[in-house]
Amino acid sequence: MSALIVGAAETDALGRNPDQSVLGLNVEGGLRALADAGLEPGQIDGVAGAYSPHGVAHALGITPRWVDTTNVGGCSFLMHVRHAAAAIAAGHATRVLITHGESGRSRIGTVPRPRDPQSWTGQFEEPYGAKPPYTRFTLPAMRYLHDHGLDEVALAEVVVAQRRWSARVPRAGRRDLLSVEEVLAAPSLAWPFRVPMVCMLTDGGGGLVVTSAEHAPAAQRARAVHVLGTGEGADPLLVAQVPDPAGSSAARRAADDAFAESGLTRAEVDHVMVYDAFAHLPLIGLENLGLAPPGKAAELVGAGETSPGGSLPLNTNGGGLAYTHTGMYGMFAIQEAVRQLRHEAPAQVPGARTSAVLGFGGMFTAAAVLLLGRD
C-alpha cells in the first residue's frame, strides 16, 4: 500500500444541528477535508461515500472519473479508504474525496427507513421486537460474557475507561467521569445494556482526501498519514447466525489481511480505535484484532491499559459511547486515528506512530480494518 491520507476534517457542528441536512453535512465535511489538504474541488477526480457520493460531488463541483457508493453500515468509510487506495494504485483515480454526513438526531434530509416485512430482518427479527440496534447488535453479548466468565461489570468498565478519554476532549458529547457503580445504576435499555453503554445519537459529518505520494500536495507530505494495510469482510445478515458469538469472523479476516499487507506486528500498534456502538464491542474488537487473547480484553480494560497512560490506548476521543455517533461512526474513528498520528489530538497519545482502526457495520454484518502510520 502506498496511499496517503492528506486531508481529514470533521464538520464544525457535532451533536445537535437542525440547521443542516444530510447533504449539507456531507458537503461541509468534504469542503473542510479539502481545505485541510490544501486542494480545490477541481483537483479531485474520485468520490466515495455511503450517502449519494455523486450528489455530493455535484454539489461540490467535482466531476468524478471514479465513484464508490459502498454502504454496509458504519464501517463503510474504512472500506472507502481501502477501495480508494486500490483505485489509485490501478490508475482509476488520482485524488479521492470520501465524505460522511448524517442527521442522526435531527433527521433533516434523511432517507426514511420504512419497515420492510419481506426482508429477512422484517421476517425473522422485527416481529419479535428486535429492531432498535440496542436490541439486535447486543444480542450476542451475554453469550460472549458467559463463555469467558465475565458479567456486566466488564461492560461498565469499558464506559469508565472511555470517559477518562472523553473528559479530556472538548468536542466530546459525554464528558463526565463515571464509576462502575454509577454506570450499573443507570436505566436499562436492553439489559445488561444501560444508557451509558449505548452510543450517542448525533448530527455530524467529516471528510478524507486519499491520494498517492506523487499527487500529494507538497505542503502536506510531512503530515500525511500512510495507509499501511487494509482488510474487509462480511458475515450473515441475521445476528442470530453470526458464526462466533465472540464477535465477527469478518473482523478477524479483515484484521489478518490488514496486518499481512502492512508487515506490522501486533506489538507495533501504538493506538487503537474500535467501533463502539455498544460497550461489548471494544472488548470483542481488541480480541478480533489480535491485540488481546480471547476473553482477556476485559482484564486489560479493567487494569487501565486502554485508559490514558496505558499500554494500549483505545478510543481516545471517547468513542461512539462518549464522543459522537451519527449512526455511521466509522468516519469519526478514522478522524481520531489521523489526529493522533499527526499529533494534533486533544487527548494525545505521546509519540503515536501507528494506529489500528476496526469498524463494524450492520449488526455484525460487515467489518473493516485500517492500519495507519506516520513516517
Binding site: Q118, P127, Y134, W191, P245
Partner: protein
C-alpha cells in the same frame, strides 16, 4: 434510535417471499421447520440457494422444537408498538438441530436470575393476527 412506529400501529408481522413461503406455511400449521443440507447436515432458519459446503441438496425439515438458550437481552425500552409488553426477553435460541434463531422466551420472569444460558427451552406459539410466531419457554432439564 429512530422508528416510525406509533402506539396505534399494528404489530409488524412477516410477509413471506416465494423463498420463505414454506417456513411461514409451516408455522400456520404450528410446525417449525428449517432449511437443511443433505450433504453436510448443517441447517439454517432461513432458506439458502446453496450450502456453505457447496451442496445444493437443501430442503425443508421439521424441527424437534427443543433447544437451548444461547444468548439474550431483556428489552426495557422497546419500539412504541411493543411498549405494553415490556420488559420482554429477546433471545437467540439454538435448536437441537444446530440452528440458531432470534425469538422470545415466554412463561418466565423477565429478570436475569430466571435466564440461565444453555437452559433447555421448548417451542410455544405467539399469535399475531393471522401469523403464528415460534417462541420458546423454559422446559425441564432432560434426565441425565
Amino acid at each position: 434510535m429512530t422508528t416510525t412506529a406509533t402506539a396505534t400501529e399494528p404489530y409488524p408481522v412477516p410477509r413471506p417471499t416465494p423463498e420463505t413461503r414454506p417456513y411461514w406455511d409451516a408455522t400456520a400449521r404450528h410446525e417449525l421447520v428449517h432449511h437443511r443440507c443433505a450433504s453436510c447436515g448443517s441447517g439454517t432458519q432461513h432458506p439458502r440457494a446453496i450450502c456453505g459446503c457447496g451442496s445444493t441438496a437443501l430442503s425443508w425439515a421439521l424441527c424437534s422444537g427443543r433447544g437451548r438458550l444461547h444468548s439474550y437481552v431483556i428489552v426495557h425500552r422497546p419500539e412504541p408498538v411493543f411498549a405494553a409488553e415490556a420488559p420482554f426477553v429477546l433471545a437467540v435460541v439454538e435448536l437441537d438441530e444446530g440452528v440458531r434463531m432470534t425469538t422470545r422466551i415466554v412463561e418466565v420472569d423477565p429478570v436475569p436470575e430466571a435466564l440461565r444460558l444453555d437452559m433447555p427451552v421448548e417451542l410455544r406459539w405467539l399469535e399475531r393476527g393471522s401469523v403464528s410466531l415460534p417462541v420458546f419457554a423454559p422446559s425441564p432439564e432432560p434426565a441425565a
